[in-house]
């Protein structure tokens, strides 16, 4: 013990020690940047191909930690206190806009993503992210009406859900506040992202009336209710209806003539991502034509990747439920962030739910 105090603590020894420590730190830092061994991906459930992650790990040797979220707000809430360690997220249109405004996304360096050229030009300049600076487009889809042909006949308008009591008690809608209000606003001829109180009130009153004939607002099981026979008409995501259409020929999907709310998802790198190099490799991998086509064939949503479309199943490409025809897309709108008007929507939604 006494030897310790006899150790000459000179300025030379101090500088040697500090120099060694700095060298050690810088070298270890260089090691960790040189080759990321891991990547943390945060995504929706059932929203990736069956071989995407394994082919990525084989190609690059990077291990993928894959976590799931149930909705965008859950993802956003986790990031509000800082990035919890994720490298890749899959936000949707209005959430991309929100996160850009909150300075949460890394501006993408296209030189590190050669496969970006595969993306269809039509998706390269969306209103929520002009020039696609912060996201790489992924899949897009719609909200429409899934219904049972034998019980309901032909459906072509949102009126059957919002304005009629013909199928009272045999209908249901999504529980998603922005999508349902957005569709109601479109049906009434307003913008789906309006911030005007009287337009929101009109949509609210329409939905309060419609609620009398609904079985409920269901978060994700509308397609299960449809196939089990609990209901005959449901407002649901196109991918969910497609899944049950495979099991039951009597079911079909339509985007009504008034247009609908379209959603577009993208890949983004949140600020503070620990493995940025791996993140760029992952985006490049997802945008590769064959990888993207395999994902599209698994999840059966419409891909924004024009090179991938050559490998997508022809039956999917011809299916208007997946690749909606242009005249429908032109009448449809994507959701945008409504900023301070969100509490107005929430108050309207609370009134709808409680009445």
């Amino acid at each position: 013990m006494s030897n310790f105090f006899n150790f000459p603590f000179t300025r030379r020894r101090f500088l040697q020690g500090t120099g060694a420590a700095v060298a050690a730190v810088s070298f270890s830092g260089a090691n960790s940047f040189a080759a990321d061994k891991k990547i943390n991906v945060y995504n929706w459930d059932t929203y990736i191909g069956e071989t995407t992650l394994s082919s990525f790990s084989e190609k690059t040797g990077i291990e993928v930690q894959y976590d799931l979220y149930a909705n965008l707000e859950e993802m956003f809430a986790k990031f509000q206190a800082g990035n919890p360690g994720y490298d890749i997220i899959f936000p949707s249109d209005y959430m991309i806009e929100t996160m850009i405004a909150a300075d949460m996304l890394v501006e993408l360096d296209r030189s590190r993503i050669p496969n970006f050229n595969n993306v269809d030009e039509a998706f390269l300049n969306p209103s929520f992210d002009p020039g696609c600076k912060y996201n790489a487009p992924y899949f897009w889809g719609s909200v429409g009406i899934g219904y049972r042909k034998s019980k309901v006949g032909d459906v072509d308008s949102w009126g059957v859900l919002f304005d009629s009591d013909k199928y009272s008690g045999r209908m249901a809608m999504l529980a998603d506040m922005r999508f349902v209000m957005g569709v109601a606003l479109l049906y009434l001829g307003y913008a789906a992202n309006t911030t005007k109180q009287d337009e929101i009130n009109a949509a609210r009153d329409l939905l309060i009336e419609a609620k009398k004939h609904l079985k409920g607002f269901v978060p994700d099981s509308g397609q299960d209710m449809l196939i089990s026979g609990d209901i005959d008409l449901v407002m649901e995501w196109n991918g969910d209806i497609l899944k049950v259409m495979e099991e039951d020929d009597d079911l079909t999907y339509v985007i009504p003539k008034e247009g609908t709310v379209i959603w577009i998802d993208g890949l983004s790198i949140p600020k503070g991502a620990p493995h940025i190099d791996a993140a760029y490799k992952f985006i490049d991998h997802v945008l590769d034509a064959t990888v993207n086509a395999e994902m599209a064939n698994t999840v059966r949503y419409a891909t924004t990747n024009k090179a991938a479309r050559e490998h997508v199943a022809q039956s999917d490409l011809d299916n208007p439920a997946i690749y909606a025809p242009d005249e429908v897309v032109n009448k449809s709108q994507a959701l945008a962030d409504v900023g301070d008007a969100l509490p107005l929507y929430d108050a309207a939604w609370t009134k709808i739910q409680a009445s």
Partner: protein, 301 residues
Amino acid sequence: MQSWRKNKLVFAVLALPPTAWLVIFFTLPLIIMWVYSFAERGPQGQIVLALNFANYVRAIEWIHLGIIWKSVWIAAITTVITFAVGFPLAMGIAFAPARWKNLLLLLVILPFWTNLLIRTYAWIAVLRTRGFLNFGLEWVHEKFSMLLAFIGLPDMMGEFQALELLYNQKAVVIGLVYVYLPFLVLPIYATLEKLDKSYLEVSLDLGAGHVRTLFSVTMPLALPGIVSGCLLAFILSMGTFLTPTLLGGTDSEMIGTLIARQFSSSRDWPFGSALSFLLLYLTFIMLWVRASLAGRKGGPI
């Protein structure tokens, strides 16, 4: 066991972990939420610290009070039904032969080992229009019609109308009763277990019937357990949001779902905190009223 006064150090050391846990994971978050309830909401849903009562003013609007009232109502019905089912169950377990007691207790606790979400989904499979309950009723209906036809009586049954048991308040109550039954049974069982059975024997010997004994002797003696069990069931049912979201329909908006929505799609944490604290204040007022009433009566409560 020493009195804590004699050895304060031992007491302090033993009490430190649970106190620290309580402070760090309960009191501190509550204080943070309380501060948030006075804050404002930024355009992207960020929390902007401020000092204004706008959230509380919004929280006591009629529509929100109406939702709180509906939650109280559903919670009250749930507690009554749970008690009606749970008290006989607790009595059955408490008075069962010793070798059966552990098994019966295990059967009550076993559902806890399964995820709440899965158990609630199971109820969907049972209660829906083409679920097991309706299949069973349809089968009975069919056999009955066959029987009538066989005997030669005219067809009085008509066509089978499935019961609408899902996506409404009934389903929410059924789900809540199922989930919170163990919470009610266990405290009542604990109290009944410690009960001195000789009281009951005395009552029977003195000529009171079983029913009279039950209401005049057993229940009053088990009152502490009954009160804790019912309070647990009531408070938990009032704050639930999973069950009404999955099993409820257009008439089942409860305060829990409203608050949960503020922390998700509406991104309005300050308002959600204000609503939560409104509930907390109401609960405190109820407990204070109960305490002052109990103090006045000077009864066993």
